[in-house]
Amino acid sequence: MLRERTFNIVAFLALPLVASIALALDEPFIISLATRAAILALAAVGLNLALGLGGLVSLGHAVFFGLGGYAMGILASHAQSYVPLDLGFIVIEGTKSMPIIWLVAVVVSAATALLIGLLALRTAGVYFIMITLAFGQMFYYFTISWPAYGGEDGLSIYVRNDFPGLNTLDPIQFFGLVFAVLAAVLWVMGRIERSPFGLALGAARQNAVRVETVGLSPFRLRLVAFVISGAVTGLAGALFADLNRFVSPTMFSWQMSGEFIIFIVLGGIGRLYGPVVGACLFVLLEHLLSGISDFWLIYLGTVLLLVVLFARGGVIGALSKPDATHD
Protein backbone atom coordinates (compact mmCIF):
# COMPACT_ATOMS: atom_id res chain seq x y z
CA MET A 1 0.00 0.00 0.00
CA LEU A 2 1.15 3.52 -0.70
CA ARG A 3 1.69 6.03 2.03
CA GLU A 4 -1.07 8.63 2.13
CA ARG A 5 1.20 11.40 0.90
CA THR A 6 2.32 9.34 -2.10
CA PHE A 7 -1.25 8.24 -2.77
CA ASN A 8 -2.34 11.89 -2.80
CA ILE A 9 0.34 12.86 -5.30
CA VAL A 10 -0.58 9.92 -7.56
CA ALA A 11 -4.30 10.70 -7.33
CA PHE A 12 -3.67 14.39 -7.95
CA LEU A 13 -1.48 13.74 -11.00
CA ALA A 14 -4.07 11.36 -12.43
CA LEU A 15 -6.10 14.39 -13.51
CA PRO A 16 -3.48 15.96 -15.82
CA LEU A 17 -2.51 12.47 -16.95
CA VAL A 18 -6.06 11.71 -18.07
CA ALA A 19 -6.27 15.12 -19.73
CA SER A 20 -2.96 14.54 -21.58
CA ILE A 21 -4.02 11.11 -22.82
CA ALA A 22 -7.33 12.56 -23.93
CA LEU A 23 -5.43 15.27 -25.79
CA ALA A 24 -3.26 12.68 -27.52
CA LEU A 25 -6.33 10.65 -28.49
CA ASP A 26 -8.16 13.82 -29.55
CA GLU A 27 -11.02 13.35 -27.06
CA PRO A 28 -11.97 16.91 -26.01
CA PHE A 29 -14.97 15.61 -24.09
CA ILE A 30 -12.71 13.68 -21.74
CA ILE A 31 -10.63 16.82 -21.21
CA SER A 32 -13.75 18.74 -20.30
CA LEU A 33 -14.71 15.92 -17.89
CA ALA A 34 -11.33 16.25 -16.20
CA THR A 35 -11.84 20.02 -16.05
CA ARG A 36 -15.25 19.49 -14.50
CA ALA A 37 -13.75 17.15 -11.90
CA ALA A 38 -11.04 19.68 -11.06
CA ILE A 39 -13.58 22.50 -10.63
CA LEU A 40 -15.92 20.43 -8.47
CA ALA A 41 -12.88 19.37 -6.45
CA LEU A 42 -11.99 23.02 -5.94
CA ALA A 43 -15.49 23.78 -4.68
CA ALA A 44 -15.31 20.90 -2.21
CA VAL A 45 -11.75 21.82 -1.15
CA GLY A 46 -13.29 25.12 -0.11
CA LEU A 47 -16.04 23.40 1.85
CA ASN A 48 -13.53 21.01 3.40
CA LEU A 49 -11.90 23.81 5.39
CA ALA A 50 -15.22 24.52 7.12
CA LEU A 51 -16.48 20.94 7.25
CA GLY A 52 -13.36 18.84 7.63
CA LEU A 53 -11.13 21.01 9.77
CA GLY A 54 -13.77 23.23 11.37
CA GLY A 55 -16.51 20.63 11.81
CA LEU A 56 -19.09 22.96 10.27
CA VAL A 57 -21.48 20.87 8.20
CA SER A 58 -22.69 23.49 5.75
CA LEU A 59 -25.53 22.36 3.53
CA GLY A 60 -25.51 25.77 1.90
CA HIS A 61 -22.20 26.00 0.11
CA ALA A 62 -24.05 26.06 -3.20
CA VAL A 63 -24.77 29.70 -2.29
CA PHE A 64 -21.13 30.57 -2.89
CA PHE A 65 -20.87 28.29 -5.90
CA GLY A 66 -23.89 30.00 -7.41
CA LEU A 67 -22.69 33.49 -6.51
CA GLY A 68 -19.40 32.76 -8.26
CA GLY A 69 -21.35 31.48 -11.23
CA TYR A 70 -23.63 34.51 -11.41
CA ALA A 71 -20.70 36.89 -10.87
CA MET A 72 -19.31 35.44 -14.09
CA GLY A 73 -22.70 35.32 -15.81
CA ILE A 74 -23.72 38.87 -15.00
CA LEU A 75 -20.36 40.49 -15.81
CA ALA A 76 -19.94 38.53 -19.03
CA SER A 77 -23.52 39.04 -20.21
CA HIS A 78 -23.15 42.83 -19.93
CA ALA A 79 -19.90 42.61 -21.81
CA GLN A 80 -21.38 40.49 -24.61
CA SER A 81 -24.45 42.70 -24.99
CA TYR A 82 -22.48 45.96 -24.67
CA VAL A 83 -25.08 47.22 -22.20
CA PRO A 84 -23.44 48.44 -19.00
CA LEU A 85 -24.96 47.43 -15.67
CA ASP A 86 -26.55 50.55 -14.16
CA LEU A 87 -26.94 50.18 -10.42
CA GLY A 88 -28.15 53.78 -10.00
CA PHE A 89 -25.19 54.99 -8.02
CA ILE A 90 -22.60 53.31 -10.18
CA VAL A 91 -22.43 52.08 -13.76
CA ILE A 92 -20.44 48.88 -14.27
CA GLU A 93 -19.18 47.85 -17.67
CA GLY A 94 -19.28 44.12 -18.10
CA THR A 95 -16.03 42.25 -18.46
CA LYS A 96 -14.75 39.17 -20.20
CA SER A 97 -11.56 39.06 -18.15
CA MET A 98 -11.29 35.97 -15.93
CA PRO A 99 -8.99 37.52 -13.31
CA ILE A 100 -11.47 40.35 -12.73
CA ILE A 101 -14.41 37.94 -12.69
CA TRP A 102 -12.58 35.70 -10.20
CA LEU A 103 -11.86 38.66 -7.96
CA VAL A 104 -15.52 39.70 -7.99
CA ALA A 105 -16.62 36.10 -7.37
CA VAL A 106 -14.25 35.74 -4.41
CA VAL A 107 -15.15 39.09 -2.85
CA VAL A 108 -18.92 38.62 -3.24
CA SER A 109 -18.77 35.05 -1.88
CA ALA A 110 -16.56 36.05 1.05
CA ALA A 111 -18.85 38.96 1.97
CA THR A 112 -21.92 36.73 1.76
CA ALA A 113 -20.19 34.03 3.81
CA LEU A 114 -19.44 36.65 6.44
CA LEU A 115 -23.11 37.63 6.70
CA ILE A 116 -24.40 34.05 6.66
CA GLY A 117 -21.68 32.99 9.11
CA LEU A 118 -22.51 35.79 11.54
CA LEU A 119 -26.03 34.41 11.81
CA ALA A 120 -25.56 30.68 11.26
CA LEU A 121 -22.51 30.20 13.49
CA ARG A 122 -24.54 31.19 16.52
CA THR A 123 -26.09 27.77 16.18
CA ALA A 124 -24.52 24.34 16.01
CA GLY A 125 -25.27 20.82 14.85
CA VAL A 126 -28.57 20.23 13.09
CA TYR A 127 -29.59 23.89 13.41
CA PHE A 128 -26.46 25.01 11.61
CA ILE A 129 -27.19 22.55 8.80
CA MET A 130 -30.76 23.82 8.55
CA ILE A 131 -29.85 27.51 8.56
CA THR A 132 -27.21 27.08 5.86
CA LEU A 133 -29.73 25.03 3.86
CA ALA A 134 -32.32 27.78 4.28
CA PHE A 135 -29.91 30.41 2.92
CA GLY A 136 -29.22 28.17 -0.03
CA GLN A 137 -32.92 27.82 -0.80
CA MET A 138 -33.40 31.60 -0.50
CA PHE A 139 -30.79 32.21 -3.19
CA TYR A 140 -32.14 29.38 -5.31
CA TYR A 141 -35.69 30.70 -5.38
CA PHE A 142 -34.54 34.27 -5.75
CA THR A 143 -32.63 33.50 -8.94
CA ILE A 144 -35.56 31.48 -10.29
CA SER A 145 -37.91 34.41 -9.82
CA TRP A 146 -35.48 37.12 -10.95
CA PRO A 147 -36.07 37.60 -14.68
CA ALA A 148 -33.20 39.98 -15.44
CA TYR A 149 -30.62 37.23 -15.88
CA GLY A 150 -32.68 34.42 -17.35
CA GLY A 151 -34.64 33.39 -14.28
CA GLU A 152 -35.35 29.69 -14.28
CA ASP A 153 -33.86 29.23 -17.77
CA GLY A 154 -30.46 30.46 -16.76
CA LEU A 155 -28.06 32.55 -18.72
CA SER A 156 -25.85 31.56 -21.63
CA ILE A 157 -22.49 33.14 -22.34
CA TYR A 158 -21.49 32.56 -25.93
CA VAL A 159 -17.73 32.79 -25.72
CA ARG A 160 -15.58 31.64 -22.81
CA ASN A 161 -13.97 34.51 -20.91
CA ASP A 162 -10.37 35.54 -21.48
CA PHE A 163 -7.25 34.85 -19.51
CA PRO A 164 -4.12 36.79 -20.48
CA GLY A 165 -1.84 34.71 -22.68
CA LEU A 166 -4.19 31.74 -23.05
CA ASN A 167 -6.75 30.60 -25.55
CA THR A 168 -9.38 29.50 -23.04
CA LEU A 169 -11.57 27.96 -25.73
CA ASP A 170 -8.94 25.32 -26.27
CA PRO A 171 -10.04 22.60 -23.81
CA ILE A 172 -6.52 21.61 -22.73
CA GLN A 173 -5.50 25.21 -22.06
CA PHE A 174 -8.60 25.84 -19.98
CA PHE A 175 -7.96 22.58 -18.13
CA GLY A 176 -4.38 23.68 -17.42
CA LEU A 177 -5.62 26.96 -16.02
CA VAL A 178 -8.19 25.27 -13.78
CA PHE A 179 -5.68 22.70 -12.62
CA ALA A 180 -3.17 25.42 -11.75
CA VAL A 181 -5.81 27.22 -9.68
CA LEU A 182 -6.68 23.96 -7.90
CA ALA A 183 -3.01 23.25 -7.19
CA ALA A 184 -2.46 26.76 -5.82
CA VAL A 185 -5.53 26.57 -3.58
CA LEU A 186 -4.50 23.12 -2.30
CA TRP A 187 -1.08 24.49 -1.46
CA VAL A 188 -2.61 27.39 0.48
CA MET A 189 -5.07 25.05 2.25
CA GLY A 190 -2.22 22.75 3.23
CA ARG A 191 -0.44 25.72 4.77
CA ILE A 192 -3.58 26.84 6.57
CA GLU A 193 -4.03 23.37 8.08
CA ARG A 194 -0.57 23.55 9.67
CA SER A 195 -0.76 27.20 10.71
CA PRO A 196 -1.62 28.52 14.16
CA PHE A 197 -5.08 29.28 12.79
CA GLY A 198 -5.48 25.71 11.53
CA LEU A 199 -4.41 24.28 14.88
CA ALA A 200 -6.89 26.47 16.74
CA LEU A 201 -9.72 25.76 14.27
CA GLY A 202 -9.16 22.01 14.50
CA ALA A 203 -9.08 22.20 18.28
CA ALA A 204 -12.32 24.20 18.27
CA ARG A 205 -13.97 21.35 16.35
CA GLN A 206 -12.77 18.81 18.90
CA ASN A 207 -13.36 20.82 22.03
CA ALA A 208 -14.63 24.40 21.90
CA VAL A 209 -14.21 24.89 25.66
CA ARG A 210 -10.51 24.06 25.38
CA VAL A 211 -10.05 26.82 22.82
CA GLU A 212 -11.93 29.34 24.98
CA THR A 213 -9.84 28.37 27.97
CA VAL A 214 -6.66 29.42 26.19
CA GLY A 215 -8.28 32.76 25.39
CA LEU A 216 -9.37 32.22 21.79
CA SER A 217 -12.87 32.66 20.42
CA PRO A 218 -14.23 29.57 18.63
CA PHE A 219 -16.86 31.77 16.98
CA ARG A 220 -14.30 34.03 15.34
CA LEU A 221 -12.14 31.12 14.26
CA ARG A 222 -15.14 29.45 12.66
CA LEU A 223 -16.32 32.67 11.05
CA VAL A 224 -12.96 33.26 9.38
CA ALA A 225 -12.86 29.62 8.26
CA PHE A 226 -16.37 29.93 6.84
CA VAL A 227 -15.42 33.10 4.91
CA ILE A 228 -12.27 31.55 3.39
CA SER A 229 -14.26 28.42 2.65
CA GLY A 230 -17.03 30.37 0.91
CA ALA A 231 -14.54 32.41 -1.10
CA VAL A 232 -12.87 29.29 -2.50
CA THR A 233 -16.20 27.68 -3.39
CA GLY A 234 -17.19 30.98 -5.05
CA LEU A 235 -14.07 30.92 -7.18
CA ALA A 236 -14.96 27.37 -8.22
CA GLY A 237 -18.43 28.62 -9.17
CA ALA A 238 -16.98 31.22 -11.55
CA LEU A 239 -14.85 28.53 -13.21
CA PHE A 240 -17.77 26.11 -13.42
CA ALA A 241 -19.89 28.73 -15.18
CA ASP A 242 -17.05 29.39 -17.58
CA LEU A 243 -16.62 25.68 -18.28
CA ASN A 244 -20.29 25.33 -19.23
CA ARG A 245 -20.62 28.87 -20.59
CA PHE A 246 -23.92 28.74 -18.82
CA VAL A 247 -25.27 29.72 -15.40
CA SER A 248 -28.57 28.65 -13.93
CA PRO A 249 -30.28 28.52 -10.53
CA THR A 250 -29.26 24.84 -10.32
CA MET A 251 -25.88 26.04 -9.13
CA PHE A 252 -27.67 27.30 -6.00
CA SER A 253 -29.63 24.10 -5.42
CA TRP A 254 -29.26 22.13 -2.24
CA GLN A 255 -28.41 19.05 -4.28
CA MET A 256 -25.27 20.91 -5.33
CA SER A 257 -24.38 21.52 -1.65
CA GLY A 258 -25.06 17.87 -0.99
CA GLU A 259 -22.75 16.80 -3.78
CA PHE A 260 -19.90 18.80 -2.27
CA ILE A 261 -20.41 16.97 1.01
CA ILE A 262 -20.50 13.65 -0.87
CA PHE A 263 -17.13 14.42 -2.50
CA ILE A 264 -15.61 15.07 0.90
CA VAL A 265 -17.10 11.96 2.51
CA LEU A 266 -16.11 9.79 -0.46
CA GLY A 267 -12.52 10.98 -0.46
CA GLY A 268 -12.08 11.25 3.30
CA ILE A 269 -13.31 13.93 5.70
CA GLY A 270 -10.66 16.34 6.92
CA ARG A 271 -8.08 15.07 4.43
CA LEU A 272 -6.58 17.76 2.25
CA TYR A 273 -6.90 15.67 -0.92
CA GLY A 274 -10.17 14.03 0.15
CA PRO A 275 -12.41 16.33 -1.92
CA VAL A 276 -10.13 15.95 -4.96
CA VAL A 277 -10.28 12.16 -4.87
CA GLY A 278 -14.01 12.29 -4.08
CA ALA A 279 -14.85 14.67 -6.92
CA CYS A 280 -12.80 12.71 -9.44
CA LEU A 281 -14.43 9.47 -8.37
CA PHE A 282 -17.87 11.08 -8.56
CA VAL A 283 -17.31 12.41 -12.08
CA LEU A 284 -15.86 9.08 -13.16
CA LEU A 285 -18.79 7.10 -11.75
CA GLU A 286 -21.23 9.58 -13.22
CA HIS A 287 -19.61 9.16 -16.62
CA LEU A 288 -19.38 5.37 -16.49
CA LEU A 289 -22.64 4.57 -14.72
CA SER A 290 -24.95 7.08 -16.36
CA GLY A 291 -24.19 5.30 -19.64
CA ILE A 292 -25.47 2.06 -18.15
CA SER A 293 -28.56 3.29 -16.42
CA ASP A 294 -30.60 6.44 -15.88
CA PHE A 295 -30.71 5.42 -12.25
CA TRP A 296 -26.94 5.57 -11.81
CA LEU A 297 -27.32 7.46 -8.54
CA ILE A 298 -28.46 4.19 -6.96
CA TYR A 299 -25.00 2.76 -7.64
CA LEU A 300 -23.36 5.90 -6.38
CA GLY A 301 -25.50 5.61 -3.26
CA THR A 302 -24.27 2.07 -2.75
CA VAL A 303 -20.65 3.15 -3.07
CA LEU A 304 -21.23 5.97 -0.61
CA LEU A 305 -22.91 3.61 1.82
CA LEU A 306 -19.98 1.20 1.65
CA VAL A 307 -17.51 4.03 2.24
CA VAL A 308 -19.43 5.34 5.23
CA LEU A 309 -19.89 1.87 6.71
CA PHE A 310 -16.49 0.35 6.07
CA ALA A 311 -14.06 3.15 5.30
CA ARG A 312 -14.48 6.02 7.69
CA GLY A 313 -11.34 7.62 6.34
CA GLY A 314 -12.91 7.66 2.89
CA VAL A 315 -11.27 6.23 -0.19
CA ILE A 316 -7.92 7.73 0.77
CA GLY A 317 -8.08 6.16 4.22
CA ALA A 318 -9.00 2.78 2.74
CA LEU A 319 -6.41 2.73 -0.03
CA SER A 320 -3.38 4.19 1.70
CA LYS A 321 -1.51 3.71 4.93
CA PRO A 322 -0.78 6.57 7.33
CA ASP A 323 2.23 8.77 6.74
CA ALA A 324 5.26 8.22 8.91
CA THR A 325 4.79 10.25 12.07
CA HIS A 326 6.08 13.77 11.83
CA ASP A 327 4.99 17.15 12.98
Binding site: S195, V209, V214
Partner: protein
Protein backbone atom coordinates in the same frame (compact mmCIF):
# COMPACT_ATOMS: atom_id res chain seq x y z
CA UNK B 1 -3.06 40.91 53.80
CA UNK B 2 -2.20 41.86 50.21
CA UNK B 3 -4.90 42.61 47.68
CA UNK B 4 -6.51 39.46 46.35
CA UNK B 5 -5.77 38.47 42.75
CA UNK B 6 -9.13 36.77 42.51
CA UNK B 7 -11.99 38.19 44.51
CA UNK B 8 -15.39 36.58 44.42
CA UNK B 9 -18.01 38.82 45.92
CA UNK B 10 -21.42 37.59 46.99
CA UNK B 11 -22.07 35.33 44.01
CA UNK B 12 -25.54 33.86 43.79
CA UNK B 13 -27.09 31.54 41.25
CA UNK B 14 -30.42 29.76 41.36
CA UNK B 15 -31.93 27.15 39.11
CA UNK B 16 -35.64 27.45 39.76
CA UNK B 17 -36.11 26.87 43.47
CA UNK B 18 -32.61 25.43 43.90
CA UNK B 19 -30.06 27.90 45.23
CA UNK B 20 -26.93 26.38 43.73
CA UNK B 21 -24.74 29.27 44.84
CA UNK B 22 -25.89 31.33 47.80
CA UNK B 23 -24.03 34.55 48.51
CA UNK B 24 -20.57 33.05 48.10
CA UNK B 25 -17.53 35.23 48.76
CA UNK B 26 -14.00 33.95 48.34
CA UNK B 27 -10.61 35.56 47.92
CA UNK B 28 -7.35 34.28 46.52
CA UNK B 29 -4.25 36.21 47.56
CA UNK B 30 -0.82 35.97 45.93
CA UNK B 31 1.23 32.95 46.95
CA UNK B 32 -1.55 30.85 48.41
CA UNK B 33 -3.40 27.70 47.62
CA UNK B 34 -6.99 28.18 48.59
CA UNK B 35 -8.85 24.89 48.56
CA UNK B 36 -12.56 24.65 48.00
CA UNK B 37 -14.05 21.48 49.43
CA UNK B 38 -17.54 20.26 49.99
CA UNK B 39 -19.66 17.15 49.76
CA UNK B 40 -21.04 16.01 46.40
CA UNK B 41 -23.81 18.26 45.20
CA UNK B 42 -22.60 21.22 47.28
CA UNK B 43 -22.45 23.40 44.17
CA UNK B 44 -18.71 23.39 43.50
CA UNK B 45 -19.05 22.89 39.77
CA UNK B 46 -21.66 25.63 39.46
CA UNK B 47 -19.41 28.00 41.39
CA UNK B 48 -16.39 27.17 39.23
CA UNK B 49 -18.41 27.71 36.09
CA UNK B 50 -19.33 31.19 37.28
CA UNK B 51 -15.74 32.01 38.10
CA UNK B 52 -14.48 30.73 34.75
CA UNK B 53 -17.15 32.50 32.73
CA UNK B 54 -19.22 29.57 31.50
CA UNK B 55 -22.26 30.55 33.56
CA UNK B 56 -23.56 34.02 34.44
CA UNK B 57 -24.35 34.58 38.12
CA UNK B 58 -27.72 36.06 39.16
CA UNK B 59 -25.96 38.44 41.52
CA UNK B 60 -22.47 39.22 42.76
CA UNK B 61 -19.17 39.99 41.09
CA UNK B 62 -15.97 38.29 40.06
CA UNK B 63 -12.89 40.52 40.30
CA UNK B 64 -9.73 39.31 38.56
CA UNK B 65 -6.56 41.28 39.32
CA UNK B 66 -8.57 44.37 40.24
CA UNK B 67 -10.82 44.16 37.20
CA UNK B 68 -14.52 43.31 37.24
CA UNK B 69 -14.84 40.38 34.83
CA UNK B 70 -18.40 39.37 35.74
CA UNK B 71 -19.70 40.34 32.30
CA UNK B 72 -16.86 38.78 30.33
CA UNK B 73 -16.84 35.40 28.63
CA UNK B 74 -14.46 32.48 29.17
CA UNK B 75 -12.00 33.54 26.47
CA UNK B 76 -11.78 37.12 27.79
CA UNK B 77 -11.14 35.90 31.32
CA UNK B 78 -8.46 33.53 30.07
CA UNK B 79 -6.77 36.43 28.27
CA UNK B 80 -6.86 38.44 31.50
CA UNK B 81 -4.96 35.71 33.31
CA UNK B 82 -7.30 32.98 34.49
CA UNK B 83 -5.70 29.58 33.91
CA UNK B 84 -8.18 26.78 34.25
CA UNK B 85 -7.90 23.01 34.34
CA UNK B 86 -10.88 20.70 34.07
CA UNK B 87 -12.24 17.87 36.13
CA UNK B 88 -13.11 15.99 32.97
CA UNK B 89 -10.25 16.58 30.56
CA UNK B 90 -11.10 19.15 27.91
CA UNK B 91 -8.39 18.53 25.37
CA UNK B 92 -8.17 18.17 21.61
CA UNK B 93 -8.20 14.37 21.64
CA UNK B 94 -6.97 13.78 18.08
CA UNK B 95 -4.01 16.10 18.53
CA UNK B 96 -0.72 15.24 20.14
CA UNK B 97 0.41 16.34 23.58
CA UNK B 98 2.72 18.91 22.00
CA UNK B 99 -0.03 20.24 19.73
CA UNK B 100 -2.31 20.74 22.71
CA UNK B 101 0.41 22.65 24.52
CA UNK B 102 1.11 24.63 21.34
CA UNK B 103 -2.54 25.66 21.30
CA UNK B 104 -1.90 27.16 24.73
CA UNK B 105 1.13 29.05 23.40
CA UNK B 106 -0.89 30.33 20.44
CA UNK B 107 -3.57 31.53 22.85
CA UNK B 108 -1.02 33.11 25.14
CA UNK B 109 0.57 34.93 22.19
CA UNK B 110 -2.97 36.02 21.25
CA UNK B 111 -2.18 35.29 17.69
CA UNK B 112 -4.21 32.64 15.98
CA UNK B 113 -4.53 34.86 12.91
CA UNK B 114 -1.57 33.59 11.01
CA UNK B 115 -2.56 31.39 8.12
CA UNK B 116 0.54 30.44 6.18
CA UNK B 117 3.37 29.78 8.64
CA UNK B 118 3.53 26.28 10.08
CA UNK B 119 2.74 26.54 13.79
CA UNK B 120 5.15 23.76 14.69
CA UNK B 121 7.96 25.70 13.03
CA UNK B 122 7.50 28.69 15.33
CA UNK B 123 10.51 28.29 17.60
CA UNK B 124 9.30 30.69 20.28
CA UNK B 125 5.85 29.12 20.69
CA UNK B 126 7.33 25.67 20.53
CA UNK B 127 9.90 26.35 23.21
CA UNK B 128 7.21 27.64 25.51
CA UNK B 129 5.02 24.58 24.88
CA UNK B 130 7.89 22.13 25.33
CA UNK B 131 8.94 23.81 28.56
CA UNK B 132 5.43 23.38 29.98
CA UNK B 133 5.26 19.74 28.96
CA UNK B 134 8.63 19.14 30.55
CA UNK B 135 7.57 20.77 33.80
CA UNK B 136 4.77 18.26 34.25
CA UNK B 137 6.99 15.40 33.08
CA UNK B 138 5.21 14.57 29.82
CA UNK B 139 8.13 15.24 27.47
CA UNK B 140 8.41 11.60 26.46
CA UNK B 141 4.79 11.56 25.36
CA UNK B 142 5.12 14.80 23.37
CA UNK B 143 4.17 13.20 20.06
CA UNK B 144 1.50 10.88 21.45
CA UNK B 145 -2.11 11.68 20.55
CA UNK B 146 -4.14 12.63 23.62
CA UNK B 147 -6.60 9.81 22.88
CA UNK B 148 -3.76 7.34 23.64
CA UNK B 149 -2.83 8.94 26.98
CA UNK B 150 -3.79 7.51 30.34
CA UNK B 151 -6.29 9.38 32.46
CA UNK B 152 -3.53 10.62 34.74
CA UNK B 153 -1.40 11.86 31.85
CA UNK B 154 -4.36 13.86 30.58
CA UNK B 155 -4.59 15.58 33.96
CA UNK B 156 -0.94 16.52 33.67
CA UNK B 157 -1.47 17.85 30.17
CA UNK B 158 -4.37 19.96 31.42
CA UNK B 159 -1.96 21.57 33.85
CA UNK B 160 0.73 21.94 31.16
CA UNK B 161 -1.65 23.80 28.85
CA UNK B 162 -2.61 26.12 31.70
CA UNK B 163 1.11 26.73 32.34
CA UNK B 164 1.68 27.91 28.76
CA UNK B 165 -0.75 30.75 29.45
CA UNK B 166 1.43 32.03 32.28
CA UNK B 167 -1.75 32.95 34.17
CA UNK B 168 -2.12 35.28 37.12
CA UNK B 169 -4.44 32.84 38.85
CA UNK B 170 -4.97 29.09 38.54
CA UNK B 171 -8.41 27.58 38.83
CA UNK B 172 -7.98 23.82 39.13
CA UNK B 173 -10.87 21.41 39.23
CA UNK B 174 -9.76 18.11 40.78
CA UNK B 175 -6.26 17.91 39.31
CA UNK B 176 -5.54 14.79 41.41
CA UNK B 177 -8.50 12.76 40.18
CA UNK B 178 -7.32 9.48 38.68
CA UNK B 179 -3.64 10.13 39.32
CA UNK B 180 -2.97 7.21 41.68
CA UNK B 181 -0.88 7.44 44.83
CA UNK B 182 2.45 8.19 43.20
CA UNK B 183 0.96 10.67 40.75
CA UNK B 184 -0.91 12.45 43.51
CA UNK B 185 2.28 12.80 45.54
CA UNK B 186 4.10 14.28 42.53
CA UNK B 187 1.24 16.63 41.71
CA UNK B 188 1.11 17.72 45.36
CA UNK B 189 4.79 18.64 45.26
CA UNK B 190 4.33 20.37 41.94
CA UNK B 191 1.38 22.49 43.02
CA UNK B 192 3.17 23.33 46.25
CA UNK B 193 5.88 25.03 44.21
CA UNK B 194 3.52 26.45 41.61
CA UNK B 195 1.72 28.63 44.17
CA UNK B 196 4.77 30.92 44.22
CA UNK B 197 4.16 31.74 40.55
CA UNK B 198 0.45 32.25 40.81
CA UNK B 199 -2.07 31.44 43.51
CA UNK B 200 -4.30 28.40 43.02
CA UNK B 201 -7.97 28.01 43.72
CA UNK B 202 -8.07 24.26 44.14
CA UNK B 203 -11.20 22.17 44.05
CA UNK B 204 -10.23 18.71 45.18
CA UNK B 205 -11.74 15.57 46.63
CA UNK B 206 -8.47 14.11 47.86
CA UNK B 207 -8.51 15.33 51.46
CA UNK B 208 -4.93 14.26 52.19
CA UNK B 209 -3.73 16.42 49.33
CA UNK B 210 -5.96 19.32 50.33
CA UNK B 211 -4.82 19.34 53.95
CA UNK B 212 -1.19 18.92 52.94
CA UNK B 213 -1.27 21.72 50.38
CA UNK B 214 -3.81 24.36 51.27
CA UNK B 215 -2.96 27.59 53.01
CA UNK B 216 -6.65 28.17 53.47
CA UNK B 217 -9.69 26.02 52.99
CA UNK B 218 -13.26 27.06 52.28
CA UNK B 219 -16.05 24.57 52.83
CA UNK B 220 -19.05 24.73 50.53
CA UNK B 221 -22.26 23.05 51.67
CA UNK B 222 -25.59 23.45 49.86
CA UNK B 223 -24.28 26.43 47.92
CA UNK B 224 -23.08 28.28 51.00
CA UNK B 225 -19.60 28.72 52.40
CA UNK B 226 -19.95 27.46 55.97
CA UNK B 227 -16.33 28.00 56.99
CA UNK B 228 -13.07 29.47 55.74
CA UNK B 229 -9.77 29.06 57.55
CA UNK B 230 -6.44 27.33 57.85
CA UNK B 231 -6.39 23.53 57.65
CA UNK B 232 -6.17 23.38 61.47
CA UNK B 233 -9.15 25.66 61.95
CA UNK B 234 -11.20 23.67 59.45
CA UNK B 235 -10.26 20.37 61.07
CA UNK B 236 -11.55 21.64 64.42
CA UNK B 237 -14.69 23.29 63.05
CA UNK B 238 -17.86 21.61 64.31
CA UNK B 239 -20.06 22.67 61.42
CA UNK B 240 -17.61 21.16 58.99
CA UNK B 241 -17.48 17.92 60.96
CA UNK B 242 -21.26 17.74 60.92
CA UNK B 243 -21.43 18.42 57.19
CA UNK B 244 -18.86 15.74 56.43
CA UNK B 245 -20.08 13.21 59.00
CA UNK B 246 -20.49 9.86 57.38
CA UNK B 247 -19.45 11.26 54.05
CA UNK B 248 -15.72 11.62 54.08
CA UNK B 249 -13.30 11.53 56.98
CA UNK B 250 -11.18 14.62 57.45
CA UNK B 251 -7.53 13.78 57.95
Amino acid sequence: MTDPLLDIQALSKSFGALRATADVSLALVPGEIHALIGPNGAGKSTLIQQIAGGLAPDAGRVILDGRDVTGLNTADRARLGLGRTFQISALAMENTVLQNAMLGSVGAARNAWRFLQPVMGDARLRKQAEASIERVGLEEAANTPVSALSHGQRRLLEVAVALTLDPKVFLMDEPMAGLGAEGTARMTDFLGDLRKEAPILLVEHDMDAVFALADRISVLVSGKIIATGTPDQIRRNDDVRTAYLGDEVLP
